[in-house]
Symmetry: C2
Subunit: 459 residues, 2 copies
C-alpha cells in the first residue's frame, strides 16, 4: 500500500450519509435473501443449502459490480469476488463467512430461526432477526454496500471479497483455498468484521484473537455397563477416570506455556473500553462467574488461555440415577489459546500428559486455530479508527477478542499482510445463541465506517 | 425356633430327588407365567403389569397350598403368603421380589425380553431365558416348590413368603409394609436367595451385603449455554466444576468411615471360594479392571466401599465437539457401603463436604440401604450349609455379596431375627444385563436345598 494520505477519515461526506440512509431497503432485502438460506456448516454431507446460499450471494455481489468466482475445496466452496479498478491505489481484501451455527427451534421466539423477521426499535431503528444476521451475513453486506459506494464515486481502490462457508466448523479447508488462489488474493491488507464491541455504545478495534485446540478423550473399560453392586470396586469406571483426568489437566501447567502477557499500554486501552460487567453478564445470560472485577474479566476473556469441558458422554443420562458402572466415556474438551501460544505444541503436550497420566485413554486432536495479534498502529489501523470514530461520534478503543477466527492467522501468514478488524456486532446480538439479530444502527455504522476506510485507503 | 435336631441335612431323601426331577414342567410353566408379565418397577405410575404379575403369583401360591394376602403400600403392593401347619416346630419367612429391571430390546438375542424362551443345554439341562428369570422369579419358585414338598410330607414347619414389587428401585415402601404386618410376619428366621455364587460350580452362602447411598449433585451457572470464545474464562463451567468436585470426593476420606475389615477366618473362607478372575471378568464383560489378583478382587467387591459416577449430564452430548460453556450439569453418584458403615452418617458427611468444597452445588440425597452382615454360625446357617452341600455334592463357602438388598436390613431390624442367604444365581446368568437367564440345574439345586433346609429346621 502506498504511504501518505490526503484524506482524513473524519472529512464530512454528506453524500455518503444520504447513500447509507437510503440503503435500508437494499440491506433488508439482501439480508433476508441470505438469512433464509439455512447455510449451516458442515455442508459436506449435503451442500445444497450452502450452494443455494452461494448462488444468492453471487447475485448480490454481481449486482453490486463485482466479478464472482466460486472456489471449490474438499469441503464446501468459498466465494471470491472483486470490484475492479483500472489503477487502484489500494487493494483491500474483506473476509466474511456465509455459513452459520445450527439453530434448533427450542429457545427461539420466532417459529423458524431461518425465517427472517424485522421489528422496529426506538434506538436501533430496526432489529433483523434470524440465524446468521449478525454472524456474519449482516456485516458482510455492510462491506459490499460500502464498496459499491466507493466504486460509484470512482475512488481508486479495488475491493475483493472472500466469503468462506466452513468458518463455524473451524475452517478445515481454508488454507487450501487460500493457497489455490494465492495470486488472485494478493492485496495490501485484509479487513475482518467478525468481532464484537465491548458494549452497545463503545466502538472498538480488536487487536488480538484467541486461538483454540479441540480434543476428544475416550476411555473404554468393558464391553457393556455392569451393575455397580456386582462389579463396583473391580470394574474401572471410565466416567470417574475421565473426571480425574480432566481435573489433572485443569491443574496442569502445559496449556499455559507460551503466553505473552499484555503490556501496560494495552491494559490502559482495556480500561478505557467501558467494559460493563453487568451488560456482559446479561448479554450472555450468565448467573455465576469466576470474577466480576472488570479488568480481571477482560484479562481472562482476552489474554488468558482456558480449559473447557464441553461435555462428558457415557453412563446414564436419564432422570434420576441408575447404579451402573459405565463401560465407555468420551470427554469433549478444548483450550482457548492466546498470543504467542502454539496449538501444535499444546497438542503435543496434551498427548504426552495423557499418555503419562492414564495411558488407556485415547486422544483425538481436533481442529485448532493459532491465536492472532495485530499491530494496533499504522495506516490501515488509523483509517479504521478514524472511520469508526466518524461513524459513531466516539473514539474506538483497542481491545482483543476472546473467540477465534480460523481464517485470520491463515490470511496473515499466506498473504503476508496485516489483518485488521472493523467490528460491527454487539454482545446483545447473540452470537451462536438463540434469537440472534443484527440491527439497522450497526448496519449504518458498518456501511459508513467501511466506506470511510476505503476512501482513506484510496487517497 | 426349637433347639436340637434329629435330621441331618445330608440324609438321603430318594423321594425328594424324584419329586424335584419331576418338577421341571411345573417349574417351567410357572416361570413362563411370571416372566411374561413385564413387572418392571416402579409400577406406581401404572401398576397394571405389577398387579397382573401379583395375580399370577397368587394363583401359583394358592395352588401350592398357601393362603395369600396382598399388602398395599404407598407404592406397588407386596404379596404375603403362608403354608400353614397346626403345630410348627419352625416358622420360616422366605423373601423374594417379583419386580424386575427394565429391559430394552437392544442387546437381547431374543426379540422380546419378556417372551420366555427355553433352550436345551448339555450341562444345565435347560436355559430359561427372559428378564427376571434369575432375578428373582426362578429362585422364588424354587422355595415355593420346596415348601409344597415339605407340606406334602407333613413336616412340622410353617413357610411364609413375602414377595416385594419395589426391590429394584430401592424398596422405598418396604419398611411400611413390614411394620404394617409385623405380627403376621413373625418368624424364627428369614431366608433370601437373591445373591450369587462366586463361580458356576462353587456353591456359597453370603454372609454380608454392601449397602449404598445415592445422590444427585447439581450446578447451574447460567440461563443458557454460551460460546466458549465469547465468555470462556469468565463463565463458570459446571461440567468442569463437577469433575473437580467428583475428583475431590474420590480422594476424600469421609466415605471410608466406619469400615470394619474382615477377620482372618473370613478371608480364609474367601480364599477357599474358588473365585475365578477370568470367569468374573468374562461374566461381566469387563476389559480393564482395577486389579486381577483374586483376593484383592474379592476384598474390593465385598468388603470395601466404592464411589461411582453413574453419569454426568449437561453440555454437549452429540458427535464431535461443540465449543460451548455448558450452563448446568448434574453428577449422578452413589457409594457402596460395607459393614458397619451408616448411610445416614455418610450422607451427612457428603452434604458437609460439598458445602465446604463448592457451596453453589445442590445435593439431593437419594435412596440408601444399610449394609448387612449375618452371623455365619448357628443352626439355620448350618442347615443351609448342609442342604447346599447335599444338593451340589460340594461344601459351600462363606463369602459376601457386593450388591445391596434393601429388604434385608429392614427384616433383620424389624423382625429381630437373623436373615440368611441361600444363593442360587450364577454370574453368567446376567443379573440386570441383557440376555438374562436361569437354568434347570440351579433350579433343581434350589428346590433340593430349600427342601432339605426346611426338613432340617422342622426336625
Amino acid at each position: 500500500m502506498e504511504s501518505g494520505s490526503s484524506f482524513a477519515a473524519s472529512t464530512p461526506l454528506p453524500d455518503l450519509d444520504e447513500y447509507v440512509r437510503s440503503s435500508e431497503a437494499w440491506f433488508r432485502s439482501n439480508l433476508q435473501a441470505l438469512v433464509e438460506h439455512p447455510t449451516v456448516s458442515p455442508g459436506a454431507v449435503n451442500d445444497t443449502e450452502i450452494r443455494a446460499g452461494l448462488a444468492t450471494a453471487s447475485e448480490i455481489l454481481r449486482s453490486s459490480g463485482a466479478d464472482v468466482e466460486i472456489v471449490e475445496s474438499k469441503g464446501t466452496p468459498s466465494l471470491m469476488a472483486r470490484i475492479r479498478h483500472a489503477q487502484p491505489r489500494a487493494r483491500v481484501l474483506v473476509y466474511n463467512h456465509l455459513d452459520v451455527q445450527p439453530a434448533e427451534r427450542a429457545g427461539w421466539r420466532q417459529a423458524d430461526p431461518f425465517r427472517f423477521e424485522v421489528e422496529p426499535h426506538p434506538e436501533r431503528g430496526f432489529l433483523y432477526r434470524g440465524r446468521g444476521t449478525t454472524d456474519d451475513k449482516g456485516p458482510a453486506l455492510c462491506a459490499v454496500r460500502a464498496a459499491s459506494w466507493a466504486t460509484s464515486r470512482g475512488l481508486p481502490i479495488e475491493v475483493a471479497f472472500l466469503w468462506e462457508t466452513e468458518e463455524e466448523i473451524g475452517s478445515p479447508n481454508f488454507l487450501d483455498v487460500v493457497r489455490a488462489r494465492k495470486d488472485a488474493l494478493g492485496c495490501d491488507c485484509v479487513i475482518v468484521s467478525d468481532t464484537i464491541w465491548p458494549t452497545a455504545d463503545q466502538p472498538a478495534i480488536s487487536a488480538g484473537l484467541r486461538g483454540s485446540l479441540q480434543a476428544l478423550l475416550r476411555l473404554r473399560t468393558a464391553e457393556q455397563e455392569v451393575h455397580s453392586g456386582l462389579a463396583g470396586g473391580v470394574a474401572r469406571n471410565p466416567v470417574r477416570e475421565l473426571c480425574v483426568l480432566a481435573t489433572a489437566i485443569d491443574a496442569a501447567g502445559f496449556w499455559h506455556e507460551g503466553v505473552v502477557p499484555p503490556d501496560a499500554e494495552e491494559i490502559a486501552s482495556f480500561m478505557r473500553s467501558g467494559f460493563d460487567p453487568h451488560y456482559f453478564l446479561h448479554a450472555h445470560h450468565l448467573e455465576r462467574v469466576t470474577t466480576e472485577v472488570p479488568l480481571e474479566m477482560m484479562l481472562r476473556l482476552w489474554t488468558r488461555p482456558t480449559f473447557e469441558i464441553h461435555g462428558l458422554t457415557g453412563g446414564y443420562q436419564g432422570r434420576g440415577t441408575k447404579t451402573i458402572v459405565p463401560h465407555e466415556a468420551e470427554l469433549k474438551i478444548s483450550f482457548r489459546l492466546v498470543p504467542d501460544q502454539d496449538p501444535r505444541a499444546i497438542g503435543e503436550a496434551l498427548l504426552a500428559f495423557v499418555a503419562r497420566f492414564n495411558p488407556d485413554v485415547t486422544v483425538t486432536i481436533g481442529g485448532s486455530f493459532a491465536p492472532y495479534r495485530s499491530d494496533p498502529r499504522g495506516r490501515v489501523h488509523d483509517a479504521i479508527h478514524d472511520a469508526l470514530q466518524s461513524a459513531t461520534g466516539r473514539a474506538p478503543v483497542t481491545i482483543r477478542e476472546g473467540g477465534s477466527i480460523g481464517a485470520v492467522p491463515v490470511l496473515a501468514a499466506e498473504l503476508g499482510v496485516g489483518v485488521h478488524f472493523l467490528p460491527l456486532s454487539l454482545p446483545d446480538h447473540g452470537y451462536h445463541a438463540p434469537n440472534e439479530y443484527f440491527d439497522w444502527r450497526q448496519a449504518r455504522i458498518g456501511m459508513t465506517a467501511f466506506a470511510r476506510t476505503f476512501a482513506a485507503l484510496a487517497s
